[in-house]
Subunit: 346 residues, 2 copies
Amino acid sequence: MKQVDIESRRRGILAAIVESYIGTATPVGSRVISQRLRGGLSPATIRNVMVDLEEMGLIMQPHTSAGRVPTDKGYRTYVDSLLEPIRLTKDEESLILKLVDQSGQDLDSIIQGASRAISVITNVAGVALTPRLKKSVFEHIEIIPIDSSRFLAVLVTSSGLVKNAMLDSGEEMAGSELARVAEFLNQELNGMSLGDIKHYLARRLLQERDSFYAFLKKAIDIVSLPNLSRMEDHLYCEGLTCMMANPEFKDMSKARLLLRLLEEKKDLFNLLYEDMESEGIKVHIGRENAIKDIQDCSLITCNYKVNGVSIGAIAAVGPTRMEYGKVMATVRYMSEVLGKVLERLG
Amino acid sequence: MKQVDIESRRRGILAAIVESYIGTATPVGSRVISQRLRGGLSPATIRNVMVDLEEMGLIMQPHTSAGRVPTDKGYRTYVDSLLEPIRLTKDEESLILKLVDQSGQDLDSIIQGASRAISVITNVAGVALTPRLKKSVFEHIEIIPIDSSRFLAVLVTSSGLVKNAMLDSGEEMAGSELARVAEFLNQELNGMSLGDIKHYLARRLLQERDSFYAFLKKAIDIVSLPNLSRMEDHLYCEGLTCMMANPEFKDMSKARLLLRLLEEKKDLFNLLYEDMESEGIKVHIGRENAIKDIQDCSLITCNYKVNGVSIGAIAAVGPTRMEYGKVMATVRYMSEVLGKVLERLG
DNA sequence: AAGTAGCACTCGAAGTGATAGAGTGCTAAT
DNA sequence: ATTAGCACTCTATCACTTCGAGTGCTACTT
């Protein structure tokens, strides 16, 4: 069947264009492709195919007498059906392990190490979200007197993560009462997810009266302490510098938009939260992206799981022209590593 | 005395040049200065003075037929003896308070808020170092069993800051023994600075034998837990984006160096540590700076104190051409605010 | 019919004067 | 001592040209 032939030739040529452009950042002409594909096709033939690809919206010319550049749609087809998955080298894998592990047992350092590792391997910015603790499960709470009016509440989750918060009542307070509050919480909340706890206690509060009401209120105050309940998710972002070395950022005006995104973080948060809900790698290419400011950028995200539950996400952010194969491999591998490291920690 | 007159005229003109250049980022010519100084001096006169200033190394011409630009030495003279201190407006002060305070009681958020506030007010990058805890004083330690082999050590300092670390012994461990260790530490270390504790215990260890040796060893292990002893100082840096809007960074090549500095942080750490030791505002202008990569930048640092002890530093980093008056006022004010907020927290 | 060679054509990048204007330094006049 | 005037220098800018990469089309080959 001729049809099959011509189709697969098109695919080959598209792949060659994308890869060449990724490598050189220069619009790629028919001659280059003709040499790159050893198939012995002449530039003229390539040109004919290029016209087709352009009509299909997969590539475009920046101006009449220039080579072709992939469109977002072109990258999309490349990522979805042309790119054969690559594996990281042993060296790269061990570098990742080293960067994530050296950070010791500190949760934040690990996450930061992960984002740094992504950036080091791929040369684009690495981003990592700290585990979203609302999904983790209450294990127990401890209340420690510091002085006459201040207490320290320490919350331990089933995954072994620990949060603490100072409770400054302002007034003198009987330690014994707080001990009873803690005991109560430990009995009631065991096995509940942190996200549900506040709702649960609020509901119970409606049913109670009088002395127990006050008691329960105090318990809620403790659980609601900002540092315990507002699980301040952090977003670590590393590798700006090396990403900015890419020629697409040589005039600051474009770079600024991306810089702002990575500094303000809010939009990025939302996007990662969303992607965290589903399994595996997601690729957002250029204008597919909802965030306006980075429509010349691509974003590759992946959730990570601890004990089978997806509790966070990592990402790589860079210009649309990035090494998708390598970046995807890195992000995927990192997701696994991060899951394992966090499980061991828990 | 004519001498005084001519000297003060020079100073006035230098100040005018510096201020005009700071405002416009354009080499400033004699005509501009003549208009700016209402003194009714003609451009020609200004020019004569400019020649003097240039001979003194305070200003320079980028090229023959351009206006003058301050040299590092020019900025230095301006900062040291021409700049009259300005006060922030009420609005600016209250904005600072808001940004530092809204962050709740979380230490890191406060420090981060401080660096953000600096950047928002001054339009250059704001940097803030978390308090250096080695100087803070041991108050007490608490050891909480989590499960059969894991314990949580919680350390409270006299300033009310709390650190915790997980102790994973690997083996079953009697809670009662750890309780005795904690009791021992609380008696021995009360009032000691965290920096001295390890040395002290190590010295005691040399004198002890047998069963008490093992006991003491266990205590040292606990105190040496990374999260307790390695007071991982963080460096927060905010406001890259708005700083990058300055024309000096319009070609990325120069911006990259600064970006790297702010991302790698190590050099900046050292510099801030050093400046933390002395009191008040320090201004590092251009090539005065030891760090090579930012010799086109200025750095304004200030220590901050809690209960009279200098425990951290904040800074503003931007192009040499920055509004020194405003930036210095901001940094100084922020240093006070930060001290007060942290005292209240402690 | 599919592929290819050849060729005219297009368009941007890079180079070349020419011009305008901002700013200077110097000199002579006040 | 100050300043007006003027010649001079240098850059930024614009129009113009040239060069070359790359194309699309047509005619030729297999």
